[in-house]
Symmetry: C2
Subunit: 142 residues, 2 copies
């Protein structure tokens, strides 16, 4: 499932954007939605990878049995999304380059799988080194 | 400033949507962006009033001096947005019909003003009575 999120991150990078991707799956592995950060592409500060995947999945009555897979630890915005909509499980590609709200989610009953995937780490390490100002803009750090 | 958010909520209601509106202002009162929930209108589960106003404000380097005004206490998703991007102040129309994350935001240094505005209360009270299934969908309650 991480491969879909990584594909999204790479697609974002190829578009000149921030290389973070995500996908929402059903418990049976059905892909419900996928997407990537679109700050640069659309001038849209509100579209993080997780919110893009969530939007792409359309309207749903319940998220209890869904799995959000993301290349990077979800920021507070995306962690809030997971908590509010009761997404049952989050698979995190890595939390080495950015530590978001996944511990908070675990405290609130969300099943967290942290992979520490080398490809995800490399994508963000290279990106932050090349475009630090864009990265800090994306996480709202002055 | 609340009048702009209420206008947005009423516009959403007139479109057949969920009557929650928000606006982002600068410290000097300049309107930066405004919007309303678009779940029904666009089939978009990711566009809450606050995220719509945030998106409409475009890309910004800092949110420290901005004020998010919303007709209703921000849910975890929208509270996460405020925390991640360091929005300095949130004005909440009411928290009587829904109590979101504004206490959590206050604990994390966000200046919160809770108005308990009768018009905001009436908008949501009437809406929840008329369309409970839509309301519970919007806050991810099974």
């Amino acid at each position: 499932m991480l491969a879909v999120a990584v594909d999204e991150a790479r697609a974002g990078l190829a578009e000149g954007g921030i290389p973070i991707g995500a996908a929402l799956f059903g418990r049976d592995g059905t892909l419900l939605g996928r997407g990537h950060n679109r700050r640069v592409q659309d001038g849209d500060a509100s579209t993080h990878a997780e919110t893009a995947a969530f939007r792409a999945a359309g309207r749903r009555r319940s998220y209890r049995d869904t799995i959000m897979v993301t290349t990077l630890s979800p920021c507070w915005y995306c962690s809030g999304l997971v908590r509010q909509f009761g997404i049952g499980r989050v698979v995190v590609g890595e939390a080495r380059t950015f530590h978001g709200g996944h511990d908070w989610l675990a405290e609130h009953g969300v099943e967290i799988t942290l992979l520490d995937d080398p490809e995800c780490v490399a994508l963000m390490t290279d990106f932050i080194a090349e475009r630090p100002e864009l990265w800090f803009e994306d996480i709202g750090q002055d």
